[in-house]
């Protein structure tokens, strides 16, 4: 009896651990999916005297992209964000950055954002559960977060996930 069960148990354990290896521990499921996007009113990156709130986006499907000039993966995903911004409005959340670094960064690499807001101390990012810049959120017309991507956007994620999702949310 033991002779048949022991190897089976061992194989089951191996399979379980094997599945575990294929999962990415950095992809922590966000509890914010399906919840209203946390409210904010932040100064704009380009015009410190003007503020912007997420309410201004109500009625359209949009993307919130958390970025910083000190973040190398943000530079990596920048072409993808630029491409994405052609089909959906992308708002930047400039995270714990300095204006004198962030603005030249945009000038150098192109500015695909409808606008960026300036979250100097990262407090709003905490409300959005940000822990690894860059992060990207898809928000629907009603202001509900529908999707979150952690880490740099790849062309695959953008084309296979984000773009179809935006289309679907617009249609529905």
């Amino acid at each position: 009896m033991n002779k048949t069960w022991l190897p089976l148990g061992f194989i089951a354990l191996l399979a379980l651990l094997g599945i575990g290896l294929t999962l990415n521990p950095r992809q922590v499921p966000s509890p914010l999916i399906g919840k209203a996007a946390p409210p904010f009113e932040l100064p704009r990156l380009d015009q410190p005297s003007r503020t912007f709130t997420q309410k201004e986006m109500l009625g359209s499907v949009w993307v919130l992209n958390v970025w910083a000039s000190w973040c190398p993966p943000c530079l990596v995903e920048h072409p993808v964000v630029t491409e994405l911004a052609k089909s959906v409005p992308v708002v930047g959340l400039n995270y714990k950055d300095a204006r004198e670094d962030a603005l030249p960064w945009l000038a150098r690499n192109g500015n695909p954002y409808q606008l960026s807001v300036y979250d100097a101390n990262g407090r709003i990012a905490i409300d959005y559960g940000v822990y690894g810049v860059p992060e990207t959120y898809v928000i629907d017309r009603q202001g509900v977060i529908r999707y979150k991507h952690i880490g740099p956007l790849t062309p695959e994620v953008a084309q296979k996930k984000l773009v179809p999702m935006v289309k679907e949310l617009r249609g529905g």
Binding site: G9, V28, P31, K96, N121, G122, I126, G129, Y131
Partner: protein
């Protein structure tokens, strides 16, 4: 003199309150996970986000939030994953019960093995006995 005593008491009171806040912050930070370096607690990690979140914990406790409220604040943003002691629910049942199931399985196997009748010791022939005796000399 009286005035001095009052000032001193206020100062001491503020100092113990601050110490108390430090202690509560540290205790709570011990049970929260740093999301940047995931195998460290917020208390251990020096990642910028961990520092921010520790300040957040401290600020909220200072404003009168309970430990439970701070924990809920973190879970609402980062999920159960931030808790080093995740709540018991369907998705975490294997996590909480798994070790006990394995322990039980081990005990069952052990008991079975112990109960199994021992194989009789092989009898030695007189020639083998003599050889063993010689080897032991």
């Amino acid at each position: 003199m009286g005035r001095f005593v009052i000032v001193f008491c206020l100062w001491a009171g503020a100092a113990t309150a601050a110490e108390d806040l430090d202690k509560r912050t540290a205790a709570l930070a011990e049970e929260l996970r740093c999301l940047v370096c995931q195998n460290q607690t917020l208390a251990e990690s020096n990642a910028p986000l961990a520092v921010d979140l520790r300040n957040q914990v401290r600020e909220q406790l200072a404003q009168g939030a309970s430990e439970r409220e701070v924990r809920e604040f973190m879970v609402a943003r980062y999920g159960d994953f931030v808790l080093y002691r995740p709540p018991f629910k369907a998705s975490t049942a294997a996590l909480w019960l798994g070790p006990f199931v394995l322990l039980l399985g081990g005990v069952v196997l052990l008991v079975r093995r112990l109960r199994r009748p021992r194989a009789p010791e092989p009898a030695l022939s007189s020639a083998e006995r003599e050889r063993a005796a010689k080897l032991l000399e």
